[in-house]
């Protein structure tokens, strides 16, 4: 397929003397998609990301980047890591430099770009993450939210086609989660494919079109997010809760049968229209009976 970005085929990974962390995982990511990866702790989300980024080498199975098989050669690994960026869960895992500017320069410098290009990329990615004027600040005196933004800017500076974010909403306050959501929206609109692992189902429901559910190293569901959250069996197996809006919609559908024909809202902003439509129709029905 022309728009295919990354494809995993029958990927298995096992840590030393442990049960397999990934069992026969096959999945395709298209260009421009926004996807959430759901699953309880230990389901294999982080391992999955590390395999996609070429940090862990699967014992069996193949990875294709833009239709090309990745052989594991140095060249291929480099291309994979440049095209598929990975933002780690803990910003402190990622940050190594003494100033934000040099921190962001680490990736582009490793790509062997010239000074001018590196400078340009630093400015651009800091601006994208609202970090203008932070070049000379020391990362260890930044707040958690700022550190998270630095760690995303790190990856943006490498200009990947696809970014994997490992639980980006964990340990962020609500304001920073909202900011992150807006940022991810912008990045996706700029054409970057986003794959986000999260426990925050409400965030996931608003953000993604497609959801992948991992359980004990296996993909047990992969599809449109609304369908995934209707699948009671999968939710139970993966230990997932339904998003609040999903629960509310179910209650409304119970009370107002016509609601079943209306598309469920996935964001609070859409909920107003949804509720107005339903209640208006409901009011109309009452008017008819009078």
């Amino acid at each position: 397929m022309k728009n295919e970005l990354l494809r995993l085929e029958h990927v298995c990974f096992r840590y030393e003397d442990k049960f397999p962390a990934l069992k026969d995982v096959s999945i395709t990511f298209q260009r421009g998609e926004r996807i959430v990866v759901l699953g309880n702790n230990g389901a294999g989300k982080s391992t999955f990301f590390l395999c996609c980024n070429g940090i862990l080498h699967p014992q069996s199975g193949e990875i294709f980047l833009k239709g090309q098989k990745m052989s594991g050669s140095k060249e291929d690994v480099r291309r994979l890591r440049q095209t598929v960026g990975l933002v780690f869960q803990e910003p402190d895992t990622q940050i190594i430099a003494g100033t934000v500017g040099s921190e962001v320069s680490f990736g582009p410098m490793n790509l062997g770009l010239d000074r001018q290009e590196v400078e340009l990329r630093i400015t651009r990615s800091l601006a994208r993450m609202n970090l203008e004027g932070y070049e000379n600040r020391a990362p260890h005196y930044l707040s958690g939210g700022e550190k998270k933004r630095v760690s995303i800017a790190d990856i943006l500076a490498m200009e990947p086609d696809m970014i994997l974010l490992d639980e980006p909403t964990a340990s962020l306050d609500p304001e920073n989660v909202a900011l992150l959501e807006r940022t991810l929206e912008e990045l996706n609109e700029a054409g970057i494919t986003l794959v986000v692992s999260t426990h925050d189902v409400d965030f996931a429901y608003g953000f993604a079109r497609r959801a992948v559910v991992l359980s004990q190293g296996e993909i047990i569901q992969d599809g449109e997010i609304e369908e995934v959250f209707r699948d009671e069996e999968v939710l139970k197996k993966a230990g997932l809760k339904k998003p609040l809006l999903c629960q509310v919609a179910e209650v409304l559908e119970g009370c107002v049968p016509e609601a079943r024909d209306v598309r469920r809202p996935r964001r609070v902003e859409d909920f107003a229209d949804y509720a107005k439509g339903l209640l208006g129709r409901d009011g109309g029905a009452k008017g008819d009976s009078r």
Binding site: L50, N53, G54, I55, K74, R78, R81, Q82, G85, L86, F88, E90, D92, T93, Q94, I95, I96, A97, G98, T99, G101, S102, E103, S105, F106, G107, P108, M109, N110, L111, R115, V118, E119, I122, E135, N136, R137, A138, H140, Y141, D154, I155, M158
Partner: protein, 300 residues
């Protein structure tokens, strides 16, 4: 406080017999009181110097320029044969760091107090000689012997202390106005071995990671009464350091993964913003060096 009293004693011994007693009392007492009052403890944090360097107004002056200026001034200060050069640099750097860099005076004095107390103790050792008979300008009888201060010893101690104080001030000028990463950048530019530079970057970063890990674990242990009595404190501290070691290994692995995921292969490379060397800064540094040189020749 200790430094204040020490200063008083040392100043008394240094100038005894050279200045009238009233002036001596005023000078010694004044300096001692100023030190103990102004040097009152601010935050007293372990990482103070790092924070001060980050916030100094002089931290955008080219680190390379500061590095060489500090080095040359230190060389001049140590080779000068008059204590005026050292005293001049001490006063000049104090004004530069406090007025130019925007550092609070009491913070600076507080930072100066610790090395100063060592310096003064050394000064005392240089001043006094143990003799059988009383000689020199000042003598204190101790168990049949005399602790004496001669004029030659006064001059010598004065010179040594002034040199040390002056060089210390130059070093403080560098370290209190230059963030660590800039300093490492300078070392790279003067061709320190790559391996050392990489290690320095990582160690600097790790100080903060390990320290915050340690603080979190120590607080968690304290909240479970892990430091209740001496025996438990010992055991808790042992356990704490063990798990710190274990966790730092794991953290190192994860950090390495994160570096690899950004295409790290060998050698840590950052884009160093060297800080443009400005003409006016070079002129100022040049003028300062010439002035110091002039002083050391004049007072040869």
């Amino acid at each position: 406080m200790v430094t204040g009293i020490l200063t008083m004693v040392v100043v008394w011994c240094l100038f005894y017999g050279r200045l009238p007693a009233a002036v001596l009392l005023l000078l010694g007492g004044g300096l001692g009181a100023a030190l103990s009052l102004l040097g009152r403890h601010g935050s007293g944090q372990f990482l103070t110097i790092d924070i001060l360097a980050q916030t100094s107004r002089l931290n955008r002056v080219s680190p390379l320029l500061k590095f060489w200026t500090a080095l040359i001034l230190m060389a001049l200060c140590v080779s000068a044969s008059s204590s005026f050069v050292g005293l001049f640099l001490t006063v000049f750097m104090l004004i530069l760091i406090v007025c130019g860099g925007g550092l609070a005076l009491h913070d600076y004095i507080h930072l100066l107090a610790l090395p100063l107390s060592f310096l003064l103790l050394g000064g005392l050792a240089l001043l006094f000689e143990v003799t059988v008979q009383r000689t020199g300008v000042l003598g204190i009888p101790v168990f049949g012997f005399w602790l004496c201060v001669s004029q030659a010893a006064q001059t010598r101690a004065m010179l040594v202390m002034a040199r040390a104080l002056g060089s210390l001030s130059c070093l403080y000028m560098l370290s209190l106005t230059t963030p660590m990463s800039d300093l490492i950048g300078v070392l790279r530019r003067i061709h320190c071995p790559e391996l050392l530079i990489d290690l320095m970057y990582l160690i600097y970063r790790y100080i903060f990671i390990l320290l915050s890990m340690y603080h979190a674990m120590r607080d968690a242990a304290a909240s479970r009464l892990g430091f209740g009595d001496y025996r438990t404190s010992l055991r808790t501290t042992g356990n704490l350091y063990f798990s710190l070691l274990f966790r730092s290994y794991r953290q190192a692995n994860r950090n390495f993964d994160a570096m690899e995921s950004r295409c790290f292969d060998s050698g840590i490379r950052f884009l160093e913003d060297a800080g443009k060397i400005r003409g006016s800064h070079v002129l100022a540094a040049g003028a300062l060096i010439l002035l110091t040189l002039g002083l050391s020749i004049f007072f040869w």
